[in-house]
Structure formats: C-alpha cells, structure tokens
C-alpha cells in the first residue's frame, strides 16, 4: 500500500493554506531502466480535496508532475479544527486518502 501523505493546513485570516506531499514514483513512461527497457507510465491522475466532507478542489495531473508530488492551494472559509481530507488515484487505480486537522 502507498505511504501516507503529509498534509499541513494552516489558517491565516478567513482562509487556510494547504500544503500536501504525496509519496509516489510518478513514472513518466519516458524513462528507460538500466537494461534499456522503457519503464511504463505510472502516475497520480486525479486529486481531490474536501473540507469537512465537502469537495473544494479537484485536479487532474499528467505524467510531468514531479516524483513525490507537492501541491499547495488555499481554501476559503476554513477555520481551526476543520477536517481537510485529500484523495489521490493513480493510473493503476490505486488510491489513498489522508486527513489533517486545520490549525
């Protein structure tokens, strides 16, 4: 199973800055291994974030997003104690959800 994400959601005024690190190879499908064979593409394709269960962000990614991806965005109307959850789904259909408390 994929390793957990690191999610930080910090309030500033009436919004919260969210920083997410995901553990993923993000294989572009362009790289060759030591034996010269193309390493098949394998990357996170969809990312969604929700605040207290309500979807606030959805994103689609291509293979050019860097390994161990980083994502930063700002949620309006978030306050300390709110639950911020992030879900990703990759090209193999694997998925992972982690949650953080807004602080």
């Amino acid at each position: 199973m994929a390793d957990p994400m690191r999610i930080r959601a910090q309030v500033s005024g009436d919004k919260a800055t969210v920083r997410v690190l995901m553990s993923h190879e993000m294989e572009s499908g362009q790289r060759k291994d030591a034996a010269g064979n193309t390493v098949p593409a394998w990357f996170i394709q969809e990312v969604t974030a929700s605040l207290n269960g309500k979807v606030v962000l959805s994103a689609d990614w291509g293979p050019a997003v860097s390994k161990n991806p980083f994502l930063q965005f700002t949620v309006k109307g978030a306050k300390a104690g709110d639950k911020l959850a992030v879900t990703w789904k990759d090209t193999k259909g694997e998925t992972r959800t982690d949650e953080a408390t807004v602080s």
Binding site: D3, R19, M22
Partner: protein, 267 residues
C-alpha cells in the same frame, strides 16, 4: 543520475545551449530556485515513515526499536543524531547513526545485519534504515553538533578519517580534499563546502540525510559518502565500513557547534 531520458536531455542541453545571461545572475537564480524548494521537502514523507517504523513491531523477534540505545540511553532519540558517530561499549565499535540502527535491528528485532549491509541502497531494509535515519535526524533539527572525542577510539577514528579525507588515489588522483579542501569553490555551478574545517550551520555534515531532487531519493550520510567515493573513481565502500565511519567522525568533529538542518533538500 543521468540514466533517465530527462537526464540525457539535460546533459545535451548543458553541452550545447548557448547561455547569454551573466554569471552572477545565474548563481543568484539558482539560489532562488533552491529557496523555492525549501517549503515542501519530500523528506517529510520519509520522516513520517521512519517514526512509524521505529514504533512498529518488526523482524523475526516482532519487536519495536523503542529500546534502541543511540548513545543517550535506551530509547532516547532527541539529541542523539548530533552526537553521532560515537563509541559504543556493547559493540566495542565507533558507530554512525545508520550502522548503530543496524545493530539495533539485529539485536532487538532479529534481522540479519550482514544481509542488510549488503543490500543496495533504496532497496528492502535499506529503505527502512534511511527512513529511520531521516526521522531520528529530524528529531535533532536545530540542535548543535557535539561529537565526543573522549574515548581514545573516537580520537583514533578522527585521525584515520583525516587521512582518508586527504587520500589521493584512483585514476584521477582524487581525494575528498580535491573538491572539499578550499573555501568558496564550485564544481560546475554547485558550491563546495570546505570540510577541512567547520563549514558552518546546516552545511556539509549538518545537512544529511537529505532529499535529492535530481533522483527523487532520500539519502543518508552513508549513501552520500558512497556516492562521493563513486565520483572519486574509488571502489565501493562497504555500508557501515570503518572507512565511512572514520570519515564521518572527521566531518562531524569538524562541524562542532554547527546547527543541524537535516533532513535537508538538495540538488
């Protein structure tokens, strides 16, 4: 590093692209680039994993590492990193963080240390070691290096490490000192810390383990030294071998009083 297509493209670029901007601006721009990466260091991912692994029951003995003595008593993690390598009475050896963790994995969890030492970096239980080292280093972030030189073997290892640092050999006659023996030098655009003396807070020994942007890998000091030796055109230094530990003692003692920023993010 340059095995990927992207890498090959970069090499090609560096070979052919005419650069028209001024030298000083290029260096400044690269500093800006590095600063942009500071917030959101993927080392955090390894740190979280390491903390989890420390507390997990693992290995043939299904035990945690919570009784592991990193030099400040069983289970004491905070402040351990900035005092390593040091002499351990139970193993009768000077050990760095990674070789000490390996001893704990053997004695507490029943793993085969020799097998793990032979495993290539970034594979199997070597991944465990790197994650553990990342978390343990992070627990001492902001603390100052303070290696003991009280035990005669610690002093001997410093002296051996110094000799290793200046050892010129291989087809290129390279020593560690070739690149790291003077102030304010660069290899290509990469700044080179002078490691014959204290290079300052968060530089050199005080910046590893670090996340390597170029290959998306987390490297401990063992892998850092291993790759330095590879680029020196030296043969392969064994994981946790006395040469790597003596060199670490030399670098660590020279960094006395420097603030640790590990785990860092690097090129």
């Amino acid at each position: 590093m340059l095995r990927s297509i992207v890498g090959a493209a970069l090499l090609l670029l560096a070979c052919t692209a005419p650069a028209v901007w001024a030298q000083k601006t290029a260096v400044q721009s690269i500093e800006e680039y590095r600063a942009m990466l500071q917030d959101g260091n993927p080392a955090d991912l390894f740190e979280a994993k390491g903390e989890d692994l420390w507390k997990q029951q693992r290995g043939p003995k299904a035990a945690t590492l919570e009784r592991c003595d990193l030099g400040k008593g069983a289970g004491v993690v905070k402040g351990a990193f900035t005092e390593l390598p040091r002499f351990f009475a139970d193993t009768q050896r000077v050990q760095d963080l990674e070789s000490r963790l390996l001893s704990c994995m053997e004695t507490l969890q029943g793993f085969n240390a020799a097998e793990i030492a032979k495993t290539p970096f970034d594979k199997g239980e070597q991944k465990t070691l790197t994650a553990l080292a990342t978390w343990i280093a992070a627990e001492s972030k902001g603390m100052k290096f303070n290696l003991s030189q009280a035990h005669p073997e610690e002093r001997t290892f410093y002296e051996v490490g110094k000799r290793l640092f200046f050892q010129r050999a291989g087809p290129h006659d390279f020593a560690c000192a070739t690149c790291h023996g003077q102030d304010e030098k660069r290899i290509r655009l990469q700044d080179l810390p002078n490691l014959t003396k204290n290079p300052g807070d968060g530089v050199g020994f005080a910046a590893w383990p670090a996340y390597r942007v170029s290959n998306g890998q987390m490297w401990g000091m063992q892998q850092r030294l291993n790759d330095c030796y590879r680029q020196q055109r030296f043969p392969y230094p064994g994981f946790g071998s006395d040469a790597t530990i003596a060199l670490s003692v030399y670098l660590g003692v020279n960094s006395q009083g420097s603030v640790s920023v590990a785990p860092a993010i690097k090129r």
